[in-house]
């Protein structure tokens, strides 16, 4: 009923008459939905660090328990001007990039095989499920024996850590590809390879990207673990050395670098996601 369109609609009464004994229906909706609020996140950050600094300056927080943010920053500055920052970053980034890339390539390939071939699924998926929960840190001594104390064992640790979640994300993604799309491809006479390339892989891509987000965090966690043994340079090595010297200011600086590293990786993946998954809402 749209009274507004009727030419003879009566003038709106100034005060709508409320029938006797009437009350408005109570509002019961709303809530359970969050909306983005800008500037809150940086504000929280600034306030927290400010309070921390204040606590340290007034002596409320003992420097033995926690160094002041300014001290941590000084340690970071020291690292920067001495040129060591780039040496550590370079060593860590190499391990991270090579380990993650190789683990991802292998993981996506094996995941696709498990998703596509019954034999691969029957043979590999129990194996993957059995090895996935093993903390790769526990295997580090073995990796040192197998791949040497140098870069090999460090890259291998990251590679293995990345491989398993990627496999699981990939074949989960393949399983979830809409079968009607596959049937459509078959009905138009598309070749097997065309269907895999044009329907299965793009369809599994959202799940694969979710896997990337997890595997990047795992890679950073394992980086520190891998640099525990026989690493001269690397952010992890720097943190561990600082820890064993009780140089808590350097430790905080190193941890902050790792956090920034993780955020940068997540941001890069977000960019890639926005490019490759732009067809999504």
């Amino acid at each position: 009923m749209s009274d507004a369109t009727l030419p003879l609609s009566p003038a709106e009464p100034a005060q709508p008459a409320v029938p006797a004994g009437a009350r408005p229906v109570p509002y019961r909706g709303g809530g359970f939905s969050t909306r983005p609020i800008r500037f809150v996140a940086p504000l929280v950050f600034v306030v927290l660090i400010g309070l921390w600094e204040l606590g340290s300056d007034t002596g409320f927080i003992s420097p033995i328990v926690l160094p002041a943010p300014s001290e941590a920053f000084a340690a970071f500055w020291q690292l920067l001007v001495s040129g060591m920052l780039f040496k550590h970053l370079e060593a860590s980034l190499w391990r991270l990039v090579i380990g993650w890339t190789c683990g991802t390539i292998l993981g996506v390939s094996v995941g696709l095989m498990i998703g596509l071939f019954s034999v691969a699924r029957a043979s590999l998926s129990p194996l993957v499920n059995a090895i996935f929960p093993i903390p790769k840190i526990a295997l580090l001594p073995l990796f040192v024996i197998w791949f040497g104390i140098g870069e090999g064992s460090k890259v291998a640790t990251i590679l293995f850590g990345v491989f398993f979640p990627t496999v699981i994300a990939t074949y989960g993604g393949v399983d979830n590809v809409d079968r009607t799309l596959v049937r459509m491809g078959q009905s138009f006479g598309l070749s097997w390879w065309s269907i895999v390339r044009k329907i299965i892989i793009p369809g599994a891509l959202p799940a694969i990207f979710s896997g990337f987000r997890i595997s990047v965090s795992i890679a950073i966690i394992l980086l520190v673990a891998a640099e525990m043994i026989g690493a001269e340079y690397g952010i992890g090595a720097y943190i561990l050395l600082a820890g064993s010297l009780m140089a808590t200011d350097q430790l905080i600086a190193g941890v902050a670098i790792l956090s920034v590293l993780g955020l940068t990786m997540a941001w890069l993946i977000g960019l890639a996601e926005r490019h490759f998954l732009r067809w999504r809402t």
Binding site: T180, M184, S187, K198, P202, L205, W279, T281
Partner: protein, 255 residues
Amino acid sequence: MHLAISHVSHRYAGTEVLSDIDFSVGAGEIVCVIGPSGCGKSTLLRLVGGLERPTSGTVYEVGDPPAHSLNPLTYIFQDFALLPWRTVAGNVELALEDHRLPKAERAAIVADVLARTKLLDFADAYPRQISGGMKQRVAIARALSVNPAVMLMDEPLSALDSQTRELLMDDLVDLWTRERFASLYITHNLAEAVRLGHRIVVLSRRPGRIRDIVTVDIELSERKNRAAELGAVQQRLWNLMRDEAMAADMELTDV
């Protein structure tokens, strides 16, 4: 080319879903198949297009497909089956990519079918940006691009609201008047069947058997203005189906 469905029966894990289905789809003829839910209509369509093998019986292609047909038996799906990561033009192109066609010819075919389905303005839109009716038009354009001999339509209008359905039905009638395609058209909507079908195959509930084949002798383009006659046919179909539909409704469906 026409299709002959010869004594086709099908069972899934012991349950018979189709029993001795035998009819043909002539060149330029639209044959609608109706029946209560779960009578195996969609299974029949998958068997006809070779997406599944019948337990017994055979589906024959009789004669040669038209010279330029890239995919003689082409489906149109209920839920459109468009790739969400491809644009409208990209979705149409998908059907052509595995055929060795020169790039220019491929582009020309895409432009031609998009023009025929009035989609040229939407060529670069993604499926999520267009309405359900538009999506089904894209699927129709994609089917036309491979120049099919028989279109296998699986409840193509069932996912659309009734106004859009009405519009698309008119489009299909126009299209048929121009192209004279043959089609096996599965639906549960009797109004669609009487508007689009030259012949209407009525299936019984599971296992699906042919109860009757009703011929509608009115030109497709004239049917809109002869509602009374169509109404009579529709009533007749409903009388054929009502008891079956009621019985099908009461069945437990744990197949």
